[in-house]
């Protein structure tokens, strides 16, 4: 296995394109190295993107943030402006693993690992985030919900690498939240994840996006759940409709982490609870 650490995105894409065998991007490595150790992955080339200056920083503000693909969770947590405007995205990023894992893991890695249970993906989808994809010859921007196509698979071409994540302009009176259910208080993979992002106008929900994780092969954007609360002050009836819509959208599996029945039920519970937090953060009063 070769190890390369290029210092610009183009060079990374070129290395990936030139490799005849299996080439993989190494960001935080918190998933990749575990799989390599288990013998599930045997790459011929690792392209370490942590030496690419552009990918190591968080830029922007109200008009939109750009988070570099190699920024570790701990730095996302330390970014005060980001945490103020996008608390849901930040808390989702902070939920990935322990403090030790936070020192390495990245949200782009969390996305590209393509696990149905990834914590940041529902939060990013709810936020309306996009990713900047760089290939050997061209760049493109893709909505987060279009990146993962199934468990372990993405829409990225072989020579493509994600350079950054872009969060949209933040409107006034907006708030987001992400909640996940895990059996312990830490260190588990989400059994269910729910993210809600909403904006208010005169105390009424003007726009909303609701996304769920770990309840289907990919994270889901649940429009019916958002529709349930748009135009409301998040009254109990609206919340109940949202919860029902969340549960209805689920298409989960039975596995070692949870049952179909459990996930379906708890998706509604978490959707409701996340909506309440987001509403509160947006300055809403019930």
């Amino acid at each position: 296995m070769r190890y390369e650490a290029p210092n610009n995105t183009k060079a990374a894409a070129t290395l990936l394109a030139a490799e005849k065998g299996k080439a993989l991007v190494l960001a935080g490595g918190t998933d990749l190295l575990v799989r390599m150790k288990a013998g599930m992955l045997e790459p011929d080339l690792l392209v370490d993107i942590k030496h690419i200056e552009k990918m190591r920083s968080i830029a922007g503000g109200n008009a939109g943030f750009t988070i570099g693909a190699a920024v570790p969770g701990v730095e996302i947590g330390e970014h005060k402006a980001l945490g103020k405007l996008w608390p849901g995205v930040v808390e989702a990023a902070q939920l990935i693993g322990s403090d030790q894992v936070q020192g390495r893991c990245t949200i782009v890695g969390n996305l590209c690992n393509a696990s149905p249970a990834a914590d940041t993906v529902p939060a990013l989808i709810a936020a309306g985030a996009k990713v900047v994809v760089v290939g050997k010859d061209k760049r493109r921007t893709v909505a987060v919900e279009k990146v993962v196509t199934g468990p372990g698979s993405t829409s990225l071409a072989k020579a493509e690498v994600i350079e950054s994540i872009k969060l949209p302009k933040r409107e006034r009176s907006s708030g987001d939240a992400y909640l996940r259910f895990i059996p312990r208080t830490e260190m588990d993979i989400a059994v269910v994840g729910a993210a809600v992002n909403l904006s208010l106008s005169r105390g009424v929900v003007k726009s909303a996006r609701v996304a769920l994780g770990a309840v289907a092969p990919t994270a889901l954007l649940v429009r019916e759940a958002a529709d349930a609360i748009i135009g409301t002050k998040l009254d109990d009836a609206a919340l109940e409709t949202l919860a029902t819509a969340c549960s209805a959208a689920c298409n989960p599996i039975d596995d070692k982490r949870g049952t179909i029945h459990y996930r379906t039920k708890v998706a509604g519970v978490l959707g409701r609870r996340a909506a309440l937090i987001a509403f509160d953060r947006a300055g809403g009063k019930r």
Partner: protein, 163 residues
């Protein structure tokens, strides 16, 4: 497996080693640098026994490649004491019986040190969540949390005196 020559700094000392590209930094530190205080409990980032600092960030050395350490600053449990003077955390772990078998202790000490540098006055809850990445099977964490609380108190007293 092709390999790499790595120049790094471990506990303040310049260190060089050669390793295969797919070797974890944990294995490099244990088998090539000889720092067996860094422990492997799982190899998957779930137990924290291999905790080190990498450029002052807390990480699991099993989730870092040896080759990634090139040009970095590494801190391990072996670097905690200042000569024959133990770090206050080390003192308090002994004093408060915060270890039984001791295999998790190096990881806890490194993680707790990073915590107290970031947050000199953590609540019990903050301590518990900050140390959630370090598994201990012997103590039920009770005396570990108490040792960290005692250290935080000691260090705050000390910095008050200084200022």
């Amino acid at each position: 497996m092709s390999g790499a020559h790595v120049s790094t700094t471990v506990n303040g000392d310049a260190v060089q080693f050669a390793c295969p590209n797919d070797e974890s930094l944990l294995d490099s530190l244990r088998n090539r640098v000889g720092l067996t205080g860094v422990k492997e409990g799982c190899g998957t980032g779930d137990c924290g026994a291999c905790s080190i600092t990498l450029d002052d960030r807390l990480v699991c050395s099993c989730l870092v490649l040896g080759v990634e350490a090139n040009g970095k600053q590494i801190g391990t449990v072996e670097g905690l004491a200042d000569g024959d003077k133990l770090h206050p955390l080390q003192e308090n772990f002994i004093k408060h019986a915060a270890l039984q078998c001791g295999i998790c202790t190096p990881g806890f000490l490194v993680a707790a040190k990073v915590l107290l540098e970031r947050n000199p006055d953590p609540s019990e809850e903050e301590i518990r969540y900050a140390l959630a990445g370090n598994l201990c099977r012997c103590t039920g964490y009770d005396k570990i949390v108490r040792a960290v609380q005692a250290t935080a108190k000691d260090l705050r007293k000390k910095s008050k005196k200084k200022s």
